[in-house]
Subunit: 575 residues, 2 copies
């Protein structure tokens, strides 16, 4: 009988934490042994965390990573472990060590290096050139890394044609909306195309702008998902594979014989001297968690991104400027789910233009969430600034200067609490504001982490409504959800004084920011000429603000930050 | 007689300004025609400006760039023009159009794409694979792009072996200290190695973090520099080449025959139907500007970076917080040289801890530079903040919170002037401070452009001294140069309360930040264990501040910003 027990260790490493990552890997190896697994597989660059960025340019970092791998190596008695690390030859490689019984059997080097979006792998790594496959007893398997499986004629295809019955594909694949479904479809096609079992291991956790969603998968040779790991949580998935089915199906594929000839000689076969686990086969129930529904998935991504940023950077708590608006309410709810209500403080900073409704809503949200709230009025400070500048600004009409001053006073107060108590300031700006620059630099943009910076305003509303439904209570008061959005920085101000309504704005932003659509294509969305021009102009001209914005969690296919690299000095106009 | 008149058009394009760039290119083509040039060569991506970054992902941008090239094409009657642009086939290429008499003769595609430091070319471009050479009458020349000439066995070598007597290498090569000498040495070696004349054309101008220094070169087949363009200015260099010498030298090279065989068939030869200019040959005097001395070179880089950031982003003037310290004094001097004293305003914002000396020095600097100065004391605002926070901070000792508050009040005041008058705020932090995070986010770090962010403190002093010598007067008062540096945010504060003296600090920073040295190597600089650990720890932990810093001018081999990409969430410690 051709069978294999594989353990998928979907762990949450921290970048640069060799001690912690190694400890965690060893702990999961022990657990996998406890389940009698033949193989335990860890994510891409599990040793270093992903992405290590320019830490990879430090020779000492590479050396320390290899020493960490050695410590893992010593704990592999009786099991085969696949561990992502940085290999060093004459250059460095994004690599997977295939370790058995305290010996490194082989090292696979990633062949397809992503260098788009948030990825910069050509900056660091040399390209791999080998397609090895490995043999344990009568089972053949191949190992490859992340992007390697995204190409139909990549190593998965070659290794499967050379006889691999299982492909272990290790990943650090960041989350964005819609990616889960795409990945499942693509991986299923790879499996059925090559009649091979695919074990897809993804890392989990937040790292600066990125959230890795886990959601590891085992897919059989027909393309059916037979196991699915948790989303946004660490997980260990044990799967028993019956590989007779692979051979059976391959015997019925007449084209395969021809194709095998084409890769003849391209693949090395390496034997691993291991005894396969024979007992209790298939007694472990396969587990296929269902996929979270859309809003919950997004919300969970935001929660994990926030909790990991706080924890991995050792903050004691967070502080949020609460305004009674929908953005700060959502951020506060996420923060409470991320780190617990006792670690979240809200600061309410009313100005002369703050409405009674905003005050009531702020206190109600704080009460509903069970967080502490502190009130610091800014009226006196605002007056003192105006007096200090009176002489220089004499005779000039009020403009954005006075609005920004209020936002910046609030920024300073939040930062004072941050400095005094060691709290991280969470900013509350959404993607719509970030896109058009409807935010004050050093004002409401002041803070360490921008939780919803990649969430369009219309989606902020959706998330609030979903959260209220989920909790079976109006955590975020109804009035917050239907009152007109306002920055409340001058009398009777509304967002629509400056911007088109968000349901009109957000599709333009998506087309321009995320999809690089031309002006004609944007006009075809049905907006007015002047409106489209104004919006695009605002986006182009606020790059300088975004450059100084805190990092925030990527949830769309294209976020700001590393994902969208625009010049500030830029005279290009699309219309 | 084998001869050629070549015009090197060292221009300053603006990213995305197709209209302006095209106009400038056509203007230089006309000038080159006026000098009877056979060939006029423009920098890499002259049409789009460099680097266009993610604008390259917009199909409309690529299309507009090709239309701009067509407008240039129409103005090439009677001359051969080499123009950098983005070519579009099934993918896009960093390309050079070889145009003659309104027809595109050929398009060369860059083969070596830089993807390190500030460069991300693999993110955008496909790699070129062709090595064409061109013939005008009896002269053969090759064209290649920037990095292509940095590889000894790259296209320069192949094209020269195939018969090219001149290599036209077009560039957008950013400045850093020491690069000029390295480039001259390397290019001379390429020329003599392959017995070929090298015409190296570099762009000039500031673009966000980068300054392109011009400094174009023509080097003869023996490796001797025969013409050198201006540094940090636009220039048109006309050079007459007598290419008999190339053939003569090649006839004396016995190894060459063997090597030519090896590249047989690799190169296409393309004829350009042109009549060479025959009159006035060598009547144009060759021009070899001398290289600026080190301090002047750095200063000029800072001036150009600043003036172009201001001009290309359409600012009306700049505003600088003057403290009487060496950093703000240098920034003010640079600003005056960049955009004229009438466009520079200094704001002096004394706190309760500001010394009498600082006040006197501030006014003296403003007087010496001839700039307007406005005084806005912050004592009242500071007091109002303390009162607003009194209740919440009750019983807690003063700490960095109160220091940061003062810096942030100043940040707000500067930004108010910026908002009210449309002035760009220049920040005054140096590289030493940026490295260790000795700066207040949203305080002294608040502003649009960080002029000396890549200048170590010890070099700030050197530059000030050089400037005083250069001007034959003490523009920056002597006391500013010898008094002990202090942030003046609490009584009797000195930088050395927190940091080692700058002559000790700066070498550690260079080793760690610019050179990625290990802890042992840093210790070998002779510093104390605790001091080295403390400094490295400060650098690692202040990445979050740098992420929100304004852009500034790269002058060292490794600046912050695009040049050094570190994770914020990072548990790696080098010691």
């Amino acid at each position: 009988m051709k069978k294999l027990r594989i353990a998928i260790a979907q762990i949450n490493p921290t970048v640069g934490d060799f001690e912690g990552n190694t400890r965690k890997i060893i702990e999961y190896i022990d657990k996998a042994k406890g389940y009698g697994s033949d193989i335990v597989a860890f994510p891409e660059l599990a040793i270093t965390g992903y992405p290590p960025e320019d830490l990879l340019l430090k020779p000492q970092f590479i050396k320390d990573n290899i020493e960490a791998l050695k410590r893992v190596q010593d704990e592999t008695e009786g099991i085969t472990a696949i561990v992502g690390f940085v290999d060093r030859k004459d250059d460095i490689f994004n690599a997977a060590a295939i370790i058995h019984d305290k010996a490194i059997i082989d090292v696979y080097h990633k062949m397809y290096l992503p260098n788009y979006g948030v990825f910069d792998e050509y900056r660091y790594f040399q390209v791999g050139t080998r397609y090895p496959i490995y043999q344990i007893d009568n089972v053949f398997f191949g190992v490859n890394i992340c992007e390697d499986i995204w190409y139909p004629d990549g190593p998965t295809r070659v290794q499967a044609l050379a006889g691999a019955e299982v492909i272990i594909n290790i990943n650090a694949s960041p989350y964005h909306i819609g990616k889960s479904a795409f990945r499942e479809r693509m991986l299923s096609t790879r499996a059925s195309d090559s009649t091979v079992v695919v074990a897809y291991i993804n890392t989990v956790g937040g790292q600066d702008e990125l959230v890795f969603d886990g959601h590891s998968l085992v897919i059989d040779e027909k393309g059916e998902i037979i196991a699915r790991g948790k989303q946004f949580e660490e997980d260990l998935i044990i799967v028993d594979l019956d590989l007779e089915a692979v051979l059976m199906r391959r015997l019925h594929d007449p084209r395969r014989r021809q194709e095998v000839l084409a890769i003849e000689g391209a693949v090395e076969k390496i034997a691993i001297q291991a005894e396969k686990v024979e007992e209790n086969f298939s007694l472990i129930p396969q587990r296929t968690n269902t996929i979270l529904e859309r809003m919950e998935e997004i919300y969970r991504a935001l929660v994990l991104g926030t909790s990991d940023y706080v924890a991995k950077n050792n903050f004691k708590g967070v502080v949020i400027g609460l305004s009674g608006g929908v953005d700060s309410s959502l951020v506060a709810a996420i923060a409470v789910d991320a780190i617990g209500k006792e670690n979240v403080t809200g600061i309410f900073m009313p100005s002369p233009y703050t409405s009674k409704e905003s005050m009531e809503d702020t206190y109600e949200i704080a009460k509903n969430l069970g967080i502490k709230i502190i009130e610091v009025p800014i009226k006196g400070l605002f007056k003192t600034y105006l007096q200090s500048l009176e002489e220089e600004f004499k005779g000039l009409p009020p403009d954005a200067t006075e609005e920004n001053l209020q936002a910046r006073i609030r920024g300073n107060i939040l930062m004072a609490f941050s400095n005094k108590f060691g709290w991280l300031v969470l900013t509350t700006g959404n993607k719509s504001e970030m896109s058009v620059g409807y935010a004050t630099l050093y004002g409401d943009m002041a803070g360490g982490f921008a939780v919803i910076k990649d969430v369009p305003k219309t989606m902020v509303y959706e998330l609030c409504k979903w959260k209220n439904l989920k909790e079976w209570k109006t955590l975020i008061p109804e009035r917050v959800l239907w009152k007109e959005p306002s920055a409340e920085l001058k009398p009777d101000q509304k967002d629509t004084d400056t911007l088109p309504p968000y349901p009109v704005l957000d599709p333009i932003l998506k087309a321009y920011v995320e999809e690089d659509r031309s002006f004609e294509e944007i006009m075809s969305l049905g907006c007015e000429l002047e409106c489209a021009q104004k919006v695009i102009n605002m986006i182009d001209r606020s790059e300088y603000k975004r450059r100084q914005a805190p990092p925030g969690i990527k949830i769309t296919p294209r976020a700001f930050g590393k994902d969208r690299r625009f010049p500030i000095t830029n005279r290009y106009r699309s219309y």
